[in-house]
């Protein structure tokens, strides 16, 4: 079998493979640090003092996996059905279904809580196009 213009083709292939593989070689051995969302806010400390434990409206595992679905359901419930209080299935406490006025009261550290994982996973939820994010110290 004869390969016409073999030199050019093989050179081209080598250049292509080198370019395509460059990001992998470039980042080899450099793992991005694992995201570590912080729960250190005044409201959460206050909650811990009052109830003796840190607890979100649902279990940590549920919140971690399903918070986006829960927020979607909250939106439908508030906007469409005018049902604005959420009853926790774990603690039976009542919560105001509001990202801006309830979630962010405790999680007032949006940069260290929301953005920490969202940036790591390169997801860009558009919550903050409309909802007003809590004011944060630039240093913290």
């Amino acid at each position: 079998m004869k390969l016409y213009d073999g030199g050019k083709i093989i050179a081209g292939l080598i250049v292509f493979v080198a370019l395509a593989a460059f990001p992998f070689f470039y980042n080899i051995g450099k793992a991005n640090p694992k995201p570590e969302p912080k729960l250190d806010t005044p409201a959460i400390r206050q909650w811990e003092k009052q109830y003796g434990k840190k607890e979100c409206i649902e279990s940590k595992a549920y919140m971690r996996a399903e918070h986006m679905q829960l927020l979607n359901d909250w939106r439908d419930s508030v906007v469409r059905d005018n049902e604005r209080l959420y009853i926790s299935t774990t603690s039976k406490k009542h919560f105001n279904m509001s990202l801006q006025n309830d979630c962010m009261q405790c999680h007032s550290n949006k940069k260290k809580f929301c953005d920490e994982c969202h940036n790591y996973l390169a997801v860009k939820p558009f919550c903050w196009d409309c909802h007003i994010a809590p004011k944060e110290d630039e240093k913290s």
Partner: protein
């Protein structure tokens, strides 16, 4: 086991129908079973409830420009409505967003202008807002159900998350009650009046008055009603025959905007009011 062609095709056909049917049923079940259960939701015990929220505006109580401005500002500040200005400080008409505003008589009540009419009426500005119609044209045209009529209290609501900015509702609304966000509204919100408990809107969505549903839900009257001059605005349940709005509508001559269109506005105007409506 031997099988003839006819039998094979029959079995293959039946199994594919069953398989497809099951997957469709599963998908439908997944979609419908989402959402919060009835034991997961509750309402604030202070929430104001009605079967048909309606408003009566007594125009005789609005005497000065300041009366109008106070009401519009109360609403616009609470709801983070932007205030777009042109470089020379005038209202930027192209970008203007309004939930409640001042309109001339001829614009508020077209087809009711007589060549010679009461001078005071002809020159009189009117306070106008979304009419929360019984039969809203905006809801019929919305392709995403972003705007809809709440069945339990008749408020015409917007779900900003679903609005795709097609502006069909703006074309359909005969009252001009809807405004479109041509640009990001945030830079035009005066930080002095920003309400950090209410969202802003984003570029590319339509917005309008919501009869303050977020305030009704915690037992407060709409912001405009609170800011209005004494006896200037009434808000209540039109279905309840003991409510103030129902009593006024029953005993006084009120007008609605463009009733001939059949939209059934829920905002009633008293033209020449006495001291207490």
């Amino acid at each position: 086991m031997s099988m003839d062609r006819r039998k094979f095709l029959k079995i293959a056909g039946i199994s594919s129908v069953l398989g497809l049917g099951a997957s469709v049923a599963q998908a439908t079940h997944n979609i419908w079973s989402k959402g919060l259960g009835p034991d997961q939701v509750a309402q604030n015990s202070k929430a104001l409830k009605a079967k048909h929220w309606a408003m009566v505006i007594d125009m005789s109580k609005f005497r000065t420009d300041a009366d109008f401005r106070k009401v519009a500002d109360a609403c616009h500040h609470i709801h983070n409505v932007p205030n777009f200005k042109t470089p020379d400080g005038k209202v930027d008409i192209k970008n203007e967003i309004k939930w409640i505003w001042k309109e001339t008589y001829e614009h508020a009540f077209p087809q009711q202008e007589n060549p010679y009419m009461e001078e005071s009426l002809k020159e009189k500005p009117f306070l106008v807002l979304c009419n929360h119609c019984e039969n809203p044209a905006c809801v019929r045209v919305c392709p995403t159900k972003a705007t809809f009529k709440r069945q339990d209290d008749g408020i015409v609501m917007m779900d900003m998350h679903r609005c795709i900015g097609c502006r069909f509702c703006m074309a359909a609304c005969p009252y001009g009650a809807r405004s479109f966000n041509w640009t990001d509204p945030r830079p035009a919100i005066d930080p002095r009046f920003e309400n950090r408990e209410y969202p802003t809107r984003t570029k590319g969505v339509v917005e309008k008055c919501t009869f303050c549903t977020e305030r009704l839900a915690v037992g407060k009257m709409p912001a405009c009603v609170e800011a209005a001059p004494k006896g200037g605005m009434f808000f209540g349940d039109l279905e309840n025959h003991n409510s103030e709005v129902r009593k006024i509508v029953k005993t006084r001559l009120t007008v609605r905007r463009k009733p001939e269109l059949g939209t059934g506005p829920s905002v009633y105007y008293l033209i020449g009011g006495k001291d207490h409506a």
